[in-house]
């Protein structure tokens, strides 16, 4: 594995996070380069979501460093990170149920320094990628189906014009057709130069969409390699993700 030529976009080193006394992250280290899709695999409870939440500042790290574009961001409040290009799409989507689709998008769109023209552009782009959201733009978020809510969650994040999206299990609970759609979205975002840290349990999708893979177990990274070096039937996959 050759080191990335440029400074990585996000660099996490020896991260320790607790929920009360529960020691969830026991020293996680990983990095994501500009425009890279990096997969983070592992079973339930190993700390994948906690890693994303710690990077996003939603949970304070007890130890370790988090660097974004070379600067330390540990302790920075989430709303500041969102304005500087880090977007977070949580595991249970968490769209604003009582706001309309349009209002959900506006929470990301109404930022300082965005011209009206740019706003219209972003909306057009997102409605082109997700026509169903255009159809339902005045409907309350809570009335959308699971797959539609997932799309809204991703679209909402895209309104922030992020440099990296922390994407937590986007395909969980979705039908195969929607899973394919998520794969397309990840590819499109990558082509646009957006980096993605993709937490998933769907192994084939993650191997296909990512450039590099980290595998976690019990709060640490146990394996790190290029996605091309792994296949679904690899014993490493069986060991850390199978039964």
């Amino acid at each position: 594995m050759s080191a990335p030529a440029a400074e990585p976009l996000v660099q996490v080193e020896d991260l320790h996070t607790y929920y009360g006394k529960s020691h969830i992250l026991h020293g996680v280290s990983l990095h994501v380069g500009r425009g890279e899709v990096v997969g983070l695999l592992g079973r339930n409870g190993v700390g994948k979501s906690t890693t994303l939440k710690t990077i996003m500042g939603l949970v304070p790290p007890a130890q370790g460093s988090i660097r974004y574009e070379g600067r330390s961001i540990a302790g920075t409040p989430p709303h500041v990170l969102a304005r500087h290009g880090i977007a977070y799409v949580p595991e249970d989507r968490r769209i604003f149920r009582l706001l309309t689709v349009m209002e959900n998008l506006r929470t990301g769109l109404d930022r300082r320094g965005v011209t009206d023209a740019r706003r219209r552009e972003l909306l057009e782009q997102v409605f082109a990628s997700f026509p169903v959201l255009a159809e339902r733009r005045n409907q309350a978020g809570g009335t959308l189906s699971g797959g539609e809510q997932q799309m809204l969650a991703i679209a909402r994040a895209m309104m922030l014009e992020p440099r990296i999206i922390l994407l937590d299990e986007p395909t969980e609970g979705l039908m195969p057709r929607m899973v394919a759609q998520i794969r397309e979205i990840v590819d499109t975002l990558q082509r646009q130069g957006v980096a993605i840290l993709l937490v998933e349990q769907n192994v084939p999708l993650t191997l296909a969409a990512s450039r590099r893979i980290y595998i976690m177990e019990k709060g640490v990274v146990r394996h790190h390699c290029a996605a091309a070096e792994l296949s679904v039937h690899d014993p490493i996959i069986q060991q850390y993700l199978g039964v």
């Binding site: 604003f96 929470t107 909402r156």
Partner: protein, 297 residues
């Protein structure tokens, strides 16, 4: 005995109409006070025991500005603005450090603040009640009474303020920020909404609403350092009956309770009429404890 005499002597229909108007006037002021309270609770989960004192401070501010300028409307706007600033400062100093802690701590903090403010007002302005002259002194004939136009103006103005605020919440960018923060504070942050400032802003708004009610009420009842107590107690009843966090619920409940009291005071003294508010509170807690219009979260 009073009851029967009252019954016999009153001219029911006319009296009921007069009391209806009175009830609505008081109800609208109460709605204004209660909306600030329910807004603060809905977003921040803070039970603001200092809300009555913000009402009282607004009234005193109005007294001072009115004495200086003679202009009632200027007094109203200035009082609302100054108390909003004060409310923001109060929230930053006493409540922001308590975010995420046991709700009991915020109750203690706001209760302590109310005591401080009451005693400050007593020290600053003395125990004698002050007055603000009504901006509209004309009256109209309502049956056997000369009814002040000002009272009608107060009701209309309160409705206008609440209406404007509702539109603001529904359509403006800050309104969306406030509604998003109420529903999911964490994701609001993840979307770049500066949640700590949204909370401060909401507290300031609530304070402004309380202050405006204080100035509007001042010509009707006089300004004294404990005037907040009566109103905040009723406002809490309104918030509980209407449903904590529901703006519409507070308005309906405020008018409902004020009407009940107004009707009750046809037969009993106003001091005793207050009992109906408490009866309404108890019935709500027994049968529909989340309130009549509780917001789904």
């Amino acid at each position: 005995m009073d009851l029967i005499l009252g019954f016999v002597q009153s001219a029911p229909v006319e009296l009921i109409i007069v009391q209806t108007i009175n009830g609505i006037v008081t109800g609208m002021i109460l709605a204004l006070v209660a909306s600030g309270l329910t807004l603060i609770f809905g977003i921040m989960d803070v039970v603001n025991f200092a809300h009555g004192e913000l009402f009282m401070l607004g009234a005193y501010c109005g007294v001072v500005v009115f004495a200086l300028t003679g202009n009632f409307w200027l007094a109203l706007l200035t009082a609302a603005f100054l108390v909003a600033l004060f409310g923001a400062a109060l929230q930053i100093v006493t409540l922001r450090p308590l975010v995420g802690r046991d709700p009991l701590t915020t109750i203690l903090a706001t209760f302590g603040t109310s005591l401080i403010l009451q005693n400050y007002a007593l020290w600053q302005f003395g125990p004698v009640s002050r007055k603000i002259g009504e901006p509209i002194t004309s009256q109209f004939t309502l049956f056997y009474l000369q009814y002040p136009w000002y009272r009608i103006a107060v009701a209309l103005l309160s409705a206008a303020i609440i209406g404007a605020f509702y539109l603001f919440l529904k359509h403006s960018k800050f309104g969306i920020w406030i509604r998003a923060t109420t529903q999911d504070r964490l994701m609001a942050q993840a979307m770049g909404i500066p949640v700590p400032w949204v909370l401060t802003g909401v507290f300031a708004f609530g304070a402004a609403l309380a202050a405006a009610s204080g100035v509007l009420f001042a010509p009707l009842g006089g300004v004294y350092h404990t005037m907040g107590l009566d109103w905040v107690l009723k406002a809490f009843i309104v918030v509980v009956v209407g449903g904590m966090g529901s703006l519409g619920g507070s308005i309906v409940a405020a008018i409902f309770i004020s009407l009940l009291e107004a009707y009750a005071s046809i037969w009993v003294s106003p001091a005793q009429a207050v009992i109906v508010s408490f009866v309404a509170l108890i019935l709500t807690l027994l049968f529909r404890p989340t309130g009549l219009f509780a917001t789904p979260k």
